[in-house]
């Protein structure tokens, strides 16, 4: 009986999902979860080779397609969602996990890098939500999940553009959530804390940084990509039909502790 409950409430059987940043660690983990829950998944990423590796790693889990594209280019984004509609006849779920990082103190932050981070992380999320919602509105049903970050709430040095993009995503999500709610489309964010991914590898490689990071996480460990499995499935499934406009932080308690070192 519990399996029936799980299948009913958290099932993605018959759903079609697009995941941007699909070759990244977080997007890939979410893709695995969705496939296991029964969804058809389209992974989107810029680099065809890493996209191929990502899709190959999911072999045997279900119907997973690949589309190479740049989310910061609105024409490419429109083409992606037109392709999905032509291929599957609908779109149910969008996860925007495409993101880039660049670390430099704000006073030395190169303008081209600022533009690059904002274009991919924030403008790319806008383009994807816009064109995805246009498809979802045809069925009065949709689940949009945007990857935000703990840095939408707190300041961390040297990542001005990234933090601005993530804060912008959380606020954008609230606005579009209100607009789309009457049409059966929910919009929420997942805000990861510090996760072990290639994007954080450079910081985590330094022992003194790693030790300090762990000190402010009450659970006492970094997040792993699979820590997003549960919350992504909750927000993608009908179990969350009354949740919209929210950001769910997955940070091991970092925010609750306010960055204070464990006692």
């Amino acid at each position: 009986m519990h399996l029936t409950m799980a299948q009913d409430l958290f099932s993605l059987n018959g759903k079609v999902a697009v995941i941007t940043g699909g070759s990244g660690a977080l997007g890939l983990s979410i893709a695995k979860t969705f496939l296991q829950a029964g969804a058809k998944v389209v992974l989107v990423a810029r680099d065809p080779e890493s996209l191929d590796r990502a899709v190959d790693s999911l072999a045997g889990l279900g119907d997973c397609r690949r589309l190479s594209g740049d989310v910061s280019d609105s024409r490419q984004v429109e083409d992606i969602f037109n392709w999905v509609e032509n291929e599957f006849g609908k779109l149910d779920i969008l996860v925007t996990a495409a993101g880039v990082q660049f670390r430099r103190p704000a006073i030395d932050f190169p303008e081209d890098k600022w533009d690059e981070v904002i274009s991919t992380n924030l403008t790319g999320t806008f383009f994807c939500a816009k064109f995805a919602a246009q498809k979802m509105l045809k069925n009065n049903y949709g689940k949009i999940i945007m990857l935000s970050s703990l840095t939408a709430e707190i300041g961390i040095p040297n990542i001005s553009a990234y933090a601005a993009s993530r804060g912008g995503i959380s606020q954008f999500a609230k606005t579009i959530a209100i607009e789309l709610a009457p049409k059966g489309i929910t919009v929420n964010c997942i805000g990861p804390g510090r996760f072990r991914t290639p994007m954080t590898a450079d910081v985590l490689a330094e022992d003194h940084h790693y030790a300090r990071l762990i000190e402010v996480i009450p659970i006492g460990r970094l997040g792993e990509p699979d820590d997003l499995s549960g919350v992504s499935l909750l927000l993608a499934s009908d179990a969350s039909s009354y949740i919209t406009g929210q950001t769910f932080y997955v940070d091991g308690g970092w925010l609750a502790g306010g960055g204070n070192v464990k006692g």
């Binding site: 799980a6 789309l180 499935l233 940070d251």
Partner: protein, 265 residues
């Protein structure tokens, strides 16, 4: 994913509509559930309502969460019938009088806070401390969207719910490294008997509530059960100290117009 097979869950306010909905979700996910409440008769009715189709056991325990000795006695009573407490859901809440602040006295204040805040303190202390010793625990305290934004004339309730938010964050920080996570679920207006009573007081109440809710409907108890079941699972392990608001977008919304007439899209 999200299986709770082999887990034991304690639900305070187990005979209330939200407590029953949480029990239904947890039992159907495979957990054994103990409904806690003050009234034996109401608990039995709740158990009957839940039926026997879930995979998990359902037991009832008479216990008053406002009484320290009553809560202290609960774990040994549960152990005697072979129950372990891996999950705690605090859904106990009272229907206190709604009054302007200047008309409240300390008795009114305590009539609400003794259950809605002190009761959560005691349940967390007794059951959570036991969880911390085992290295695994999930505490889910039901608060309210009134801890974010509120109506007038509910000072004790709002203070209690906001207090539970603070309590939960503090416990999350203390117990995270012990494998116990502490989070809250904050429902918006849910169609419970108490909300129905409120709706019945004034014909403008329901249209007013819906006009503030982007999702265009009141929440159902099942909406809360689903979120609680997720937080009770192993898959929520890195979510700690968070408030999950389930309100159809109410507290996110600042739009003053009628959502049902949003036609610009």
């Amino acid at each position: 994913m999200f299986s709770l097979k082999g887990r034991g869950a304690v639900i305070t306010g187990g005979s209330g509509s939200l407590g029953i909905a949480c029990a239904k979700a947890l039992v159907e996910m495979g957990a054994d559930v103990v409904l806690i409440g003050r009234s034996h008769e109401k608990l039995q009715l709740a158990k009957q309502q839940l039926g026997t189709k879930g995979t998990g056991r359902i037991e009832c325990l008479v216990c008053d969460v406002t009484k320290e000795e009553s809560v202290n006695a609960a774990p040994s009573q549960l152990a005697n019938v072979g129950f372990k407490s891996d999950i705690l859901v605090t859904a106990a809440a009272v229907s206190a009088a709604s009054k302007p602040f200047q008309d409240l006295n300390l008795t009114d204040w305590r009539a609400t806070t003794s259950t809605d805040l002190d009761g959560v303190f005691l349940a967390c202390k007794v059951f959570g401390t036991a969880m911390a010793k085992t290295g695994f625990g999930r505490i889910i305290n039901l608060t309210s969207f009134h801890s974010v934004a509120t109506y007038p004339y509910r000072v004790p309730y709002n203070a209690a719910k906001a207090g539970v938010e603070g309590l939960s964050r503090a416990l999350a920080v203390e117990w995270g490294h012990l494998g116990v996570t502490v989070n809250t679920v904050a429902p918006g207006p849910i169609l419970t008997p108490r909300t129905q009573w409120f709706i019945d007081q004034d014909e403008n109440n329901l249209p007013g509530m819906l006009s503030r809710t982007p999702n265009k409907r009141l929440g159902s108890s099942a909406d809360i059960g689903a979120t609680v079941a997720f937080l009770a699972s192993g898959e929520s392990g890195h979510i700690n100290g968070q408030r999950l608001v389930v309100d159809g977008g109410w507290t996110t919304n600042a739009w003053w117009g009628d959502h049902q007439r949003l036609q610009c899209i």
